[in-house]
């Protein structure tokens, strides 16, 4: 994300493009990310229901996967998975 200089920043730091919070890469905040074990997963979707960031969506194959652009790595999906199909893995760069 490009941040504006003090000269180009909107007057009083106003947001003039509604909905631009979608551009904010909250995925930068995490230290761990969820990994799915497809063998154990029963595609119940509880992880998607519990995700506070609404970043877990069903894909074409019926599995639920986290959008890592937004996933903050809170681990709630891992905690809630009834089949222990999710584990947290350390983010390494």
């Amino acid at each position: 994300m490009n941040y504006p200089s003090w000269r180009t920043l909107e007057l009083g730091a106003a947001i003039t493009t509604p909905g631009n919070a979608a551009e904010l890469k909250t995925g930068d905040w995490r230290t761990e990310f969820p990994v799915l074990d497809e063998e154990k997963c029963v595609k119940c979707g509880l992880c998607a229901i519990y995700c506070p960031e609404f970043c877990i969506h069903e894909d074409d194959t019926g599995y639920f996967r986290a959008d890592l652009y937004y996933c903050k790595g809170c681990g709630i999906c891992v905690h809630e998975c009834p089949k222990d199909a999710l584990t947290m893995q350390l983010e390494e760069k």
Partner: protein, 390 residues
């Protein structure tokens, strides 16, 4: 033609707000500001001014309502004093950071405690870093003029900042003076309707006051600071235009007395006129003292003050508030730090006087001059007139 009438200064301020065609007035009454908003509520109720008068439940709400109305694009006015200004504290900073051109009269009154309804500058000095343009009027006419000019300055696209017009409580608010009330037609020409750059509009949604993440906050503050500093040039322009149209000239600071005098009084607010009279006493023996009256407090007119203090050997700074636990009152502290830029620095004498509405007479200013002449309290401050013994 403008008409000159005898009128209480508070009512003249209300008249100025009416002439400025304020669209929203949100205020809570507090002594000694009451007469201003009382009069305005009547003006609105009588249908003489097409405005929304919001009788809010506190000053915190007054400033909040003012911000909402200003964000929606209205021309907004409020007035307060002392505890009322203190109660506005957190919201004052939001008005300036959102760049909303609200105009507010501060009828300067001491802060509690002990409770005092009388005049000094402790209320506004506690808020001096609020990011507002801050001017001080010295008499009723000046406050009338400054109130109208304040809207013009605040709403200028190069400024877009709130303006506080300070007037000494009682000494000015409750004084009846001979004031020239300008014609509506001329004021309309001087002050066209407010056209906001950004405003809350359902047809073009924007967010005002969002969170400023660490990557944005410093830029936002820099933008605000530059706007405040650069407002000085606009203020000068507006003062000049006012002089051309209405014949009363104002500067950021005013000087008075013999130029060659080496002792200089510095005042802010109504005491400037007492010093003016005191100079007549002091200068009987020759050109001893002169004075500088600060009209613009924020942004601080450093350049103008340095020029005015040229040749000064001793500077007597009059403060109207205590800045607890440090050396000097708020004005003297500022002056001293400014003087550090000079190669040859004049001595600074700081008298903190007129606290809680105590009178300061011209004889007392003469005594201050004499103390400075003798070098007493050189580079020190003194809370003036305090009883040491029962």
């Amino acid at each position: 033609m403008a008409k000159r009438i005898g009128i209480e200064n508070s009512l003249a301020v209300a008249e100025a707000v009416k002439l400025a065609r304020a669209e929203v007035i949100a205020a809570y009454p507090i002594t000694p500001q009451t007469h201003i908003v009382e009069e305005l509520s009547q003006i609105v109720a009588n249908g003489e001014l097409e405005a929304e008068f919001i009788p809010v439940e506190s000053e915190h709400s007054a400033m909040s309502a003012a911000i909402g109305a200003s964000a929606a694009g209205a021309r907004v006015y409020t007035a307060t004093a002392s505890q009322g200004l203190a109660l506005m504290h957190e919201i004052l900073f939001i008005a300036s950071s959102l760049r909303l051109p609200i105009v507010m009269t501060v009828a300067n009154r001491s802060l509690s405690g002990p409770i005092s309804i009388w005049n000094d500058h402790s209320d506004v000095m506690a808020e001096r870093d609020m990011g507002w343009i801050q001017v001080f009027g010295e008499n009723g006419q000046e406050v009338f003029d400054l109130t109208i000019m304040a809207f013009r300055i605040a709403e200028d696209k190069r400024v877009l900042l709130p303006v506080a017009v300070n007037m000494d409580g009682f000494i000015l608010t409750h004084m009846i003076e001979s004031i020239e009330i300008e014609e509506q037609e001329k004021i309309d020409k001087f002050l066209p309707p407010y056209k906001p750059v950004l405003r809350l509009d359902p047809a073009h949604p924007i967010s005002m006051g969002p969170v400023g993440v660490p990557e944005i906050y410093a830029e936002a503050k820099k933008q605000q600071e530059v706007a405040l500093l650069e407002s000085k040039a606009v203020i000068k322009e507006v003062f000049k235009e006012w002089a051309e149209q209405f014949g009363r000239a104002y500067n950021l600071i005013e000087t008075n007395g013999p130029e060659q005098a080496e002792v200089v009084f510095i005042t802010m607010g109504s005491l400037g006129e007492t010093v003016m009279s005191a100079l007549d006493l002091i200068n009987v023996q020759g050109d001893k003292a002169r004075q500088v009256r600060i009209r613009l407090w924020r942004p601080f007119p450093e350049e103008e003050l340095l020029a005015a203090l040229e040749g000064a050997k001793k500077v007597i700074v009059i403060d109207r508030a205590v800045s607890f636990g440090t050396s000097y009152g708020p004005v003297a502290g500022e002056i001293r730090s400014m003087l550090y830029k000079l190669k040859e620095q004049p001595e600074v004498y700081n008298f903190i006087c007129g606290l809680g509405g105590r009178d300061v007479t011209r004889q007392e200013f003469k005594q201050m001059y004499e103390l400075a002449e003798q070098g007493q309290y050189k580079d020190k401050y003194l809370i003036w007139g305090v009883r040491e013994n029962d």
